[in-house]
Amino acid sequence: MSRKNDPKRVDAAGEPQASDAAVESQSVPQAPPVRGAALSDVFAARKIDPLDMVVRTEEEEQATRVRVRSDSGSRGAHSRGPRARILRFFLYAILFVFALWYLTPIYILLVTSLKPSSAVRLDQMWTLPWPPSLDGFFAAWNALGPNFLNSLKLAIPAAIISSMLGSMNGYVLAKWKFRGADTLFTLILFGMFIPYQAILIPLTQVMSNVGLYGSIQGLILVHVIYGIPITTLIFRNYYAAIPTELLEAAKVDGASFFRIYRSILLPLSASGFVVVLIWQFNSVWNDFLFAATLTTQPNWPMTVALNNLAGSFVVDWNVQMAGALLAAMPTLLVFVVLGRYFVRGLLAGSLKG
């Protein structure tokens, strides 16, 4: 399987960027192994970055398609008998059934939100909205519009600050290790697994003491603080893959700590930043627990307002579904446009170390 160690696959993002290409040409012969990951023994032997494997480039997708097509003509009897064909049919049938299951909520969201209130009856849940109506969306926007903006005002700054912090921390923990740095890192990592209930009561006390209880700024601060473990983790692994010789050379030339960061690390960080920005934007946008505990009505973000709207019995279902669609829209949009970075974040978040 040539796709596995084809050097072209080094760039996980699939869209080779100048900066990434620069690292490669310097001295990375193949994808950087993720250090000490839980799965490292599986991956290390193959010298591949696990983050790369799921994320295939358009080119490779094309190659697969071509291969599949030519296979069907030339593979010969041993795999193209009637039995293989039946198996193939079942393969697609199962995938198709699962796809239907995953898409059912989207279908329901769309058809319900596009119905006028008069047509939303429980026994007509599956029918198409004809004629479609935007009434649900107007009503939902009237009720949730300010909260939608709150969520933007919350998630964008939180994601940006978090990723800058994570980048600096990752730089230190990957390239300026001091005695006990790895133990410290493990202690920091623990912070991303704790049930936040275990800090919620004193956190409300702290926030009201410093006068940030109920405000969006306070919530931003909370998300930045509790985002430190995951953002540090992703950047630390990202920077660990950059050859240390590069930094040593710069040090010999007299570059300082900050100069090395600015001139070497930062220009190579583009895809790392995209991964972390998406990750943090998603988790902050989708957070409910902190928002429900630490903010009060005019400052509620979308999730809390939506839950409140949906919990009320007087709100029509088309309005609820339109509201849910609005709440899901930004993160879904990011997923559709930058899905491969999203998947990288998922994997990075699960491979510790």
Binding site: R46, D182, I188, M321, K352
Partner: protein, 330 residues
């Protein structure tokens, strides 16, 4: 002197984050631990020490015991279903299918949606409809309508039944004879309504497991499988004896991640059903929040939070330590 100045810069850069984590993670955990030992049961803090009375109080409450039962049931079903579906999908997708990217995205996109949205939509899909009553025929809705199920017997989130080993079951006598009679208590059973929450949670998280397994599958050298094929192994044998054992670290990671999510699950139950009929869908997280922030019983709320933390730490700390060891070896 250059090196030492850079060393100072590096420490100064990381110091604020270390301080923040030290205070906001470890400091506040310690403070919560302290609160769990004080009276504080009104809006105003009351730091009169009560020892372990808060813990005794929560463990004496039937609701909390139900919560523990629900957490165990939820964790088992959630992990089993997510792993099975994730592994199945990864294996199917890894067979050089057409439109691989499309299928993959369809399976993963729920990860981008909040639990609140997931809960609101699935609650609507799972609304059972009106059962037949005195002359009027049943009007099934949602899934019941789709599959032609009777709303009277398929109540989904509103089902108050708990499946447990009752006196009618053949196992009942045997368990009592061998001294395991406590298993037959209704407090150790499977609340049906909880399975609807599992359905929504699996919808959201199984794609993530698929991604993990897919990465694992693609790291397995094709030559290994080819060699086994040449030796006459069937595809099933190859999977059973070569592929699956190589995926063990992934299975472990996935179990830890899913496990700690299920111990903390909160948003989804809030959006779908709250405590549910007879606390069928109640969770420790919900109990903690309501005890502390609705009933102002902060001492007890803190006690619940500490129990949750101990449960999560019980699975996460060994995992982190194991990871750390692996890294040292690498």
């Amino acid at each position: 002197m250059r090196i030492s100045r850079d060393r100072v810069s590096s420490l100064l850069v990381i110091a604020p984050s270390v301080l923040a984590v030290a205070i906001f993670v470890y400091g506040l955990i310690a403070w919560t631990g302290y609160i769990s030992t004080v009276k504080w049961d009104t809006l105003r803090p009351d730091y009169t020490g009560v020892g372990i009375a808060n813990y005794q109080a929560i463990f004496a409450q039937n609701r909390f015991l139900m919560d523990i039962r629900n957490t165990v049931v939820f964790t088992i079903f959630f992990i089993a279903a997510s792993l099975t579906i994730g592994l199945t999908l990864a294996n199917l997708i890894d067979r050089q299918i057409r439109s691989e990217g499309l299928f993959r995205n369809i399976f993963v996109f729920p990860m981008a949606v909040s639990f609140i949205v997931t809960g609101v939509v699935w609650k609507w899909i799972l609304s059972p409809g009106q059962p037949a009553s005195s002359g009027t025929p049943a009007t099934p809705q949602g899934v019941n309508q789709l599959f032609g199920l009777d709303p009277a017997s398929n109540r989904w989130l509103t089902d108050s039944h708990v499946v447990f080993i009752g006196p009618d079951s053949p196992a009942y006598g045997i368990l009592h004879d061998i001294g395991l009679g406590f298993i037959t208590s209704p407090n150790i059973g499977i609340p049906i309504a909880l399975l609807s929450i599992v359905l929504a949670a699996v919808w959201q998280m199984s794609g993530f497991v698929m991604v993990l397994y897919l990465a694992g599958l693609r790291a397995i050298p094709e030559e290994l499988k080819e060699a086994a094929r040449v030796d006459g192994c069937t595809e099933w044998k190859i999977f059973r004896h070569i592929v699956f054992p190589l995926l063990t670290p992934i299975t472990l990671s996935a179990m830890i991640i899913l496990g700690h999510i299920s111990l903390k699950i909160y948003d989804l139950t809030v959006a779908m059903s709250g405590s549910g009929p007879g606390f069928a869908t109640d969770t420790p997280a919900l109990y903690m929040w309501q005890t502390a922030f609705r009933d102002d019983s902060f001492g007890r709320g803190a006690a619940v939070a500490i129990v949750m933390l101990v449960l999560v730490a019980g699975i996460v700390v060994p995992y982190l330590v194991w990871n750390r060891r692996q890294e040292v070896e690498a």
